[in-house]
Amino acid sequence: MNTTFLIASALDDLRSSNMLKYVVELAYVLAMALFIFSLHWMSDPKTARKGVFAGVWGMTAAILATWAKGEVTQHLWVLAPILLSIWPGMKLANVPITAVPQRTAVSHAFGGLAAGLVGTAEFFHWYLDANLHAEMTPFRVSALLIEIVLGYLTFTGSIIAAGKLQEVKWIPQRPWVYPGQNLVNGIAAIGAVVLAVMIVMNPTAPLAPYYFGGVIVLSLIFGPMLVLPIGGADMPTVIAILNSYAGLSAVAMGFVLDNKLLIIAGALDGSSGLILAIIMCKAMNRSFTNVLFGAFGQVQAAAPGGEQKQYKPEAPEDAAQVMAQASLVVIVPGYGMAVAQAQHKVRELYDQLKKRGVTVKFAIHPVAGRMPGHMNVLLAEAEVPYTDLVEMDEINPDMGQCDVCLVLGANDVVNPAARHEKTSPIYGMPIIDADKARTVYAVKRSKNPGFAGIDNELYFLDKTRMIFGDAKAVVGELTKALAGPGAH
C-alpha cells in the first residue's frame, strides 16, 4: 500500500519536473538498440531466440515509456484494447505451421490498418480543433498522406493475399487480369496524387475531409488491384513487398508524430521487406516491376512441340530399392509438399535412409513455397536437423555426385528449360540442378503442368522416373518399402 503511494508520488514528481521527458526518450533509445540487436541475432539459428527476447524487451520499454508520458491519461481506452488483443494474438501465434504464410499476410493487414487508422485519427484531430491547425505543416500532412495510403493499401492488399494463400473460393488463384489494367491503375494513382496535393496545399479547407476520404477509398481499392493480378508462384515476393509497406507506413507515422523510435523500427521492417523482395526477385530472374505489373503465368507462348512426350512412371517400391543403394540422396521440396502436409512423412523417409547409411540433404530454392523460408520452417517443424537443409547455391556443385534426386512437389525450380529455352517465361531463373543427378524421381499429383503453366523438361529426361500420387501417400509408401526388407 505504501509502495504504490510512493510510486505514484514519485511519478508525479517526475511529471512535474522535466525528468520524465528524458526518461521516456532514453527508454526509446534503449528500445531502438534492442531492436537492432534483435535483427542482429537473427543471423544465426543459435542466437536467434535471443533476438526474440531483445525484441520483446524493446517493445515493452517502448510501450511503458509511451504510457508513462503525461500526454496519456485516458487509460481505459488503452488498456481495454490491449486486454482484448491477448486472445486473438495467442490464436494467431498458434496456427499450424502450414498456415504461416496466411498468418503473416493477416498480420501485415493488421499493421496496415493500425497505421491507416492512426493517420486518419490524427488528421481529424487536427482538422476539427482550430487550435491545432498550426500543426498541419505541408511536410507533416504529406507524411500523413503517405502513411494512410501505404497503411490502407497494405490492409486490403494483405487481406486479398491472405485469401489467396488460404485458397478461399471467392478469390481467384490464377492471376486476374483485364485489358487496360495498368491504364486504370495509372488513372486511379493520378487521381489519388491530385487529391493529396489539394489537401497539402490547404489542409484546413472545408472540402479537405472529403478529399481525404477520397484518398482513403482509392488506397483501399489499390490494395486488391495490386495483388489480384499476381499469381500464386509470386506470393513470396508480394508478401515481402507488403511487409516493406507496413514498415514504411510506420516510418511515415514517425514523421507525423515526431517520433524517432517509430522511424527506426519502421525502417528496420521496411528494409527487411525490401531485401527479402530483392532476394525473391533475383531467385526468379525477374524485376520488381515485372512481378507487380507483369501478370506472370498466363503467357504460355511456347506452342506444344510436334512430338508427343511420354512420362515414364515407376512404382514407389522400385524407387525405394534404388534409393536404398544410393550414397547421396537429395530431396527437392516444393509447394506440393506443403499442400500435401507431407513434411512429417518426409522426416520418416529421411530417418529410414539415414538408418541405411545414406546421406540425405534437402535442396532449398529461395522461392520454393509461398513465402521466404517456407520450406525450412516446415522441415524444421518435422524435426529435420537444419544442418541438412542446404541452399540452392551450396548444393548445386554437389549435384553431380548425387545418386538419387527426389523432386517432391517442386516444379519450376528444377526445370532445366530455365537454362536454355529463351522463349520460356522462366528463362534465366536460377534452378536446382536436379538433372545432374544420376537418377531423378519426381513425385507429382497429376499430369498437369505447374503453376507457371510450363512443361517441365526434367520429367522427360531418360534418367527421370515419375511417381504419380499425393506427396504424402507416395513418401509413406517409399518409407514402408524401405522399412519392409530391413524389418525381417
Binding site: D44, T66, W67, V118
Partner: protein, 139 residues
C-alpha cells in the same frame, strides 16, 4: 564478402542515431512546446537522417540473416513494426478532453491491431525458432 555487423558496430551506429536525435531534443527544449519548431525544416532533416541511417543498419543486418530463418525473420519484423502501437496509444489515450470520440475509437482499434501483431508476432517467431535443431536435438 559482406561487411560484418558486429555488436560493437551496432552500438556505434546506435550512438550515431542518438547524436542525430540530439538537435531535435534541443530544439524541443528551446521552444518549450511539445511540438518542435517545424518552421525551419531543419528538424525534419534530422528526422530524415535518422531514417536513412536506420535503413542502412536494417539492410546490413538483414543481409546477414541466415536464409534458413527468413520466415521467422518476417514474423519478427512484423512484431517490431507493430511499434505503431506507440502512436496508437498516444491517440487513444490522449489527455485532451476535447478529443472526439471517433478519434479515440480509431486509436483504440489501432492499439488492438498493433498489440495483436506484437503478441502473435513474437510468440510465433519463438515457436518457429524452437523448431530449428541440429542433429543432436540442440536448438
Amino acid at each position: 564478402m559482406r561487411s560484418s555487423l558486429t555488436p560493437a558496430r551496432c552500438l556505434g551506429a546506435a550512438s550515431a542515431l542518438a547524436f542525430a536525435s540530439a538537435p531535435a531534443l534541443a530544439s524541443q527544449e528551446a521552444t518549450g512546446a511539445s511540438a518542435p519548431d517545424a518552421s525551419t525544416g531543419l528538424y525534419y532533416i534530422s528526422m530524415a537522417t535518422v531514417f536513412m541511417l536506420a535503413t542502412f543498419i536494417g539492410i546490413g543486418a538483414i543481409r546477414r540473416v541466415s536464409r534458413l530463418l527468413h520466415t521467422p525473420l518476417m514474423s519478427l519484423t512484423n512484431a517490431i513494426s507493430a511499434i505503431a502501437v506507440v502512436g496508437s496509444i498516444m491517440v487513444a489515450g490522449a489527455a485532451s478532453p476535447e478529443t472526439p470520440l471517433s478519434v479515440r475509437i480509431m486509436g483504440s482499434v489501432a492499439v488492438f491491431a498493433s498489440m495483436t501483431n506484437i503478441i502473435s508476432g513474437f510468440m510465433i517467431t519463438d515457436r518457429m525458432l524452437k523448431m530449428f535443431k541440429t542433429e543432436g536435438g540442440k536448438a
